[in-house]
Symmetry: C2
């Protein structure tokens, strides 16, 4: 049951699109009584948490799966140092579920600043503060947490589905700046037998960092290059930034200016923001007309064969605004004293950093929302959402039958219908493997299924063992991309001393893909999770509820990645008996039966652990001896499957299969039933699907 409580004068975010069956109530009089509601300048909800209560959700945020013990602030922020104390990352996903005495979901639908103090300031107090004082609050009651998630997913609409090649392995770096470097990336992957489906182009493919342009010098005859790559089974995926460079003669700039589609200040002039290219304007993607125009701007690249994009810098990130920069130049003039004590020195060195993502700058410009001017800070968290929506809506118009790869850095609930996300500029830190696992749960809960973190870490230098372990986790995330920053060591699999390990473990992605894709589609089409924490599947098992470093992928497969350096094993808790597969490549593995309870399980650097649940079945690609996956075609063209099974009785799995390209997800024949009988024989409902092996 979903109830909507309207407080104040909420902004319509279009996060919730299906209002059918939702009871609408005004204000807080009938609000559930486990909450104290105070409505003044801000709207504050307070709840006293029982010792055993756990709080789940909040999408992409720091800390654990259970969000207790920290303060989270929904305020989309470009901050590349994701240490434990960071309150805001790139997305705003104000959905949480309390699991304890009661089980209740809450979605705080407000696009301004919203904070969640979950036992941080006071051990047992959960306090939610909506700075604007207005919000639509959706309260969801249900049988259990999965039921609540399903109800929430129903009202926010179906999650974005990528082309299947977008779930292949992708290699990225800031940057592969020219056609030669791109060709080398492909060549070296193939030479080292590392499968590859996509190469990502970071900002340097553009001409002067101008959106929708391609450098003629570094990528001459771009369409030919795109086609050359596609013939070799590789998709090029360029980045698109939020800021449009102020450059006379540049079409996007001239058009946006002429049509009044850029964000303006109170004085009517366009806001001037410094980002990669120097001075830019922000397209007003909250204005439906401007959104349509900006979305159409993707077309020229698509006409050159591009079928995937990633949208960046759309919090929106600000290096500086022209006005503040001028003011800073002025202020700097006053510093001429060389005898600065700490306070003065801090003021001095703080001036530069204060230019970046300055909170005041977000109050200086306006959006035209259906004729009403709304100050940016009131709707800050909608910007990335609507930039990606611009692209997603355009793709539906321009390529109605084709799936286009699309993911974004910044997001808000609702954007999950138009694209996926990556978790932004993480670091080459061991702790970021575990953080990534935690983030997936919150993201799945609010509909973000096509998600992944930069494998190996974006910032800092990565060591070989870190990238291996990170890949061993990343091979289960729907978006599987290795990405790293300018100025860090190269972290492509072939850059290290043992590329064969990368070939083997990335190969496993293609082995598991029939199951992973099927579970992704089940989650998207039926409002399920893709990653489940153990607490969601075994809510009555106190120990299972404590586990923060194991996840289910779908409901048959449990994973327990190693995320500690030098570890050659780890502890695992099994809520029920399971069969452990320890993989070294698509051809090499061993198995072990494990009882319910605690185990220390060995796991060498080159090994990947997969646990199959009782009566679980995991259909995989069948690779003949000596055969290695090359790209997604190795999965699509494989004419048979093998099954990982743990069954003592007849079992059944329903597999989703299609060509990975078309959008007619509900056409008959997509779901294939695979059953084993009493004699261990396998029966398939679809004549085209051959089962060769039980492994």
């Amino acid at each position: 049951m979903v109830r909507k409580f309207v407080f104040g004068e909420p902004i319509e975010t279009e996060a919730v699109i299906d209002q059918v069956g939702i009871e609408v109530l005004q204000g807080g009089t009938s609000f559930p009584d486990q909450w104290q509601v105070v409505q003044a300048e801000t709207l504050t909800l307070t709840h006293c948490m029982e010792p055993g209560e756990r709080i789940y959700g909040l999408g992409e945020s720091m800390r654990g799966i259970n969000k207790r013990g920290f303060r989270y602030v929904s305020w989309n922020t470009d901050d590349p140092i994701h240490t434990e104390d960071k309150e805001s990352l790139y997305g705003a996903h104000n959905f949480l579920v309390i699991q304890g005495g009661v089980c209740q979901g809450l979605f705080v639908d407000d696009p301004g600043r919203v904070s969640f103090d979950i036992g941080f300031t006071v051990l047992d107090r959960l306090e939610i503060r909506v700075d604007s004082g207005s919000a639509n609050l959706y309260v969801i009651d249900g049988e259990d947490i999965l039921d609540i998630v399903r109800q929430f997913r129903r009202i926010i609409g179906r999650s974005y589905i990528p082309p299947l090649w977008g779930m292949g392995y992708g290699q990225s770096r800031w940057s592969y700046p020219d056609v030669e470097s791109v060709r080398e990336v492909l060549r070296r992957h193939r030479e080292n037998h590392i499968p590859l489906d996509a190469i990502y182009l970071d900002i340097d493919y553009m001409e002067k960092y101008m959106d929708f342009t391609v450098s003629e010098e570094r990528f001459p005859e771009f369409a030919v290059i795109v086609s050359e790559m596609k013939q070799q089974g590789i998709h090029l995926v360029p980045i698109i930034d939020a800021g449009v460079k102020m450059e006379p003669g540049y079409r996007t700039y001239e058009e946006g200016l002429e049509k009044g589609y850029f964000c303006r200040k109170e004085d009517g002039n366009e806001l001037v923001v410094g980002v990669w290219p120097g001075k830019t304007h922000f397209p007003d993607v909250l204005n439906p007309e401007a959104r349509e125009w900006f979305g159409n701007s993707y077309q020229p690249l698509m006409d050159q064969g591009i079928d995937g994009f990633w949208n960046d810098m759309n919090e929106p990130a600000i290096f500086y605004t022209e006005d503040r920069l001028l003011d800073t130049f002025e202020q700097l003039k006053s510093f001429r004293n060389t005898d600065m004590d700490l306070q003065e020195f801090w003021r001095f060195v703080g001036l530069g950093p204060a230019l970046q993502n300055n909170q005041e700058d977000y109050t200086l410009f306006y959006h035209n929302m259906n004729g009403t001017l709304v100050r940016h800070d009131r709707v800050h968290n909608l910007y990335g959402y609507n930039m990606t929506r611009a692209a997603g809506e355009a793709f539906d118009r321009l390529r109605p039958d084709q799936r286009i790869l699309l993911f974004s850095r910044s997001s808000y609930v609702g954007m999950h219908r138009y694209g996926g996300i990556w978790t932004g500029d993480n670091q080459s830190w061991w702790s970021h493997i575990l953080l990534s696992m935690h983030q997936m749960v919150g993201l799945n809960m609010c509909g973000f299924l096509f998600v992944g973190s930069d494998i190996g870490g974006f910032g800092s230098n990565a060591s070989e063992d870190l990238v291996i372990r990170f890949t061993e986790w990343g091979l289960f995330t729907p978006l599987m991309r290795n990405h790293s920053s300018l100025g860090t060591v190269c972290q492509e699999g072939y850059a290290f001393s043992r590329p064969e390990i990368f070939a083997h473990i990335i190969g496993l992605r293609y082995l598991f893909l029939p199951y992973l894709y099927s579970e992704f589609m089940r989650a998207a089409l039926q409002g399920e999770m893709y990653f489940y924490p153990l607490a969601f599947l075994y809510p009555g098992d106190e120990m299972a509820c404590r586990v923060e470093d194991q996840l289910f992928v779908g409901q048959s497969m449990m994973i327990a990645p190693v995320y500690e350096q030098n570890a050659r094993g780890r502890y695992v808790y099994l809520p029920e008996p399971m069969k452990l597969y320890r993989f070294r490549s698509v051809h090499e593995y061993d198995t072990e039966m494990l009882s319910q309870g605690h185990h220390y399980v060995n796991c060498e650097l080159e090994e990947v652990l997969v646990f199959v649940r009782q009566n679980g079945m995991i259909p995989c690609t069948w690779f003949a001896e000596g055969e290695q996956p090359v790209n997604i075609d190795s999965v699509l063209k494989a004419d048979s499957l093998c099954l990982m099974c743990y069954a003592s009785e007849p079992i059944r799995y329903t597999l989703y299969r299609d060509n990975g390209l078309d959008k007619d997800y509900t056409a008959p024949g997509k779901w294939v039933s695979i059953e084993t009988d009493e004699d261990g024989q396998v029966h398939v409902s679809d004549g085209n699907t051959k089962i060769l092996h039980l492994i």
Copy 2:
């Protein structure tokens, strides 16, 4: 067996003080052949690590107990953000032990930049680079790692021993800026029954941040305040910084200038460095005369009753040098363009941060080392060592019979004889509990025994549960101090919702203190470790060697702190059967017998786990019912002990006992033998020690 290999023209660091029995060899011809040595402009040692080899040591540095997988750079650095990727912290401790096929210790005695790439750049390659090209390399062979550590400890001399009250609980904050705030800290600890022995004074007690001064406004009649506190069982411990303020009329400045005791530039002028007080000079503590003079400057504070100090900013930290600041002002003038692209913008915002601890600034000044001018960067890592040595040597002169509390932020091997260290500006991060555990091992190996980390974390805001868990670890570290930064939430035990938990767990410090102090003294006097990783005690147990989050305190007690938020238990590996004590206060606990192997052990937020080894005995203070420790007197005046025991046969423990103040450590009667007989009766060799209870 210790061999000394002399490469190039090493600087004498006085880290090694006992050369007896050391074979001295020139250069690398006879260097152990598991190393490839290349001597050119730099000195490079390379070793190919076997898969099973583990590398221990490197003192205070990031990452695990086993140092494999990262690059560490010995270059003392004031950097408060201790993320996984930081190569340099505050200390330089170039001692490591390889444990694997061979077991061998290596001390790279050079005070310039030395880097240790331990499988970071290439998975199996250990590469040590000494930038200067010169070093004394001490190679130590022995039976096992403990034997190697003992040999190393013998040649570097006995570790610093603090007064016993310095091992009581201390409360610190930047800052308790006046006498009223100090009184309040004491009052609120007593009101909440939280034991306390020391209150630390950060920089604001001084007049304009001038070393050895006290603000007359905020601490009028300082000697009276010191005495008032001491009467209530509290020691005040002021901070001393490296930089001496340039202030006409200020005695330390005038004297230093007159005698030429400050570091000078090539042109003969004193280097001008901006730190807390604005412009300062660095005392040249590498010049023996200047060192003596600087040490004597502590006397006025001691004359006012002060008997403990902490030395800070002695890497030495530089906010700016006057010359570079002037140059920066000039450079800033050239930035007037508001259309800065990323490169130009980065140059602009980088100018401020580049002032701080700029590497070039460390090449601009000189030390007078016994008449020879040595450029600072050649001996950089000796600065903090010699500042603390200045104090330590002065204390020996000024108070030959009294132990003075002393610890430092920056250090080099050798400084362990003069004072302890704290691990600098850590953060209120859960990961920093584990980091602190890891750091203790490396520090103990090279003689730093009086060590601890800021409990609760220095930077960032701490939550109550973090500070509780941090305290539960910190109560085992010889230096046990809660400290936090300006601008963060208060993190004294009484600042939270459940101060009784703090009272209880800090009380445990005083319960365990007879054992902790005894193990500390054993480690100091006999060259043992205080904290042992399991790998050192069970080198043949492969699983024990993998454990990175349990430690032995002495050889009878194993601890396994909880360092994960919301955890209510954790995994523990026992290399042999042990008896688990689960403490909730000095009076409340339960016990459990655990078999050898893996266990998941429950541990509620207010609980502390202590494991007693087979035939282990842990003498504790006996507190009668209703009695709570108040400060160190509660331990010293307790006339009886209780024993935690796990024995099936007669066992014996040798306990060190003294008044915690005098320095005659080898006088007879300090070591007391406690034995149990076949009937479980306890016999004590010293008539003054009463054993009341076996618990």
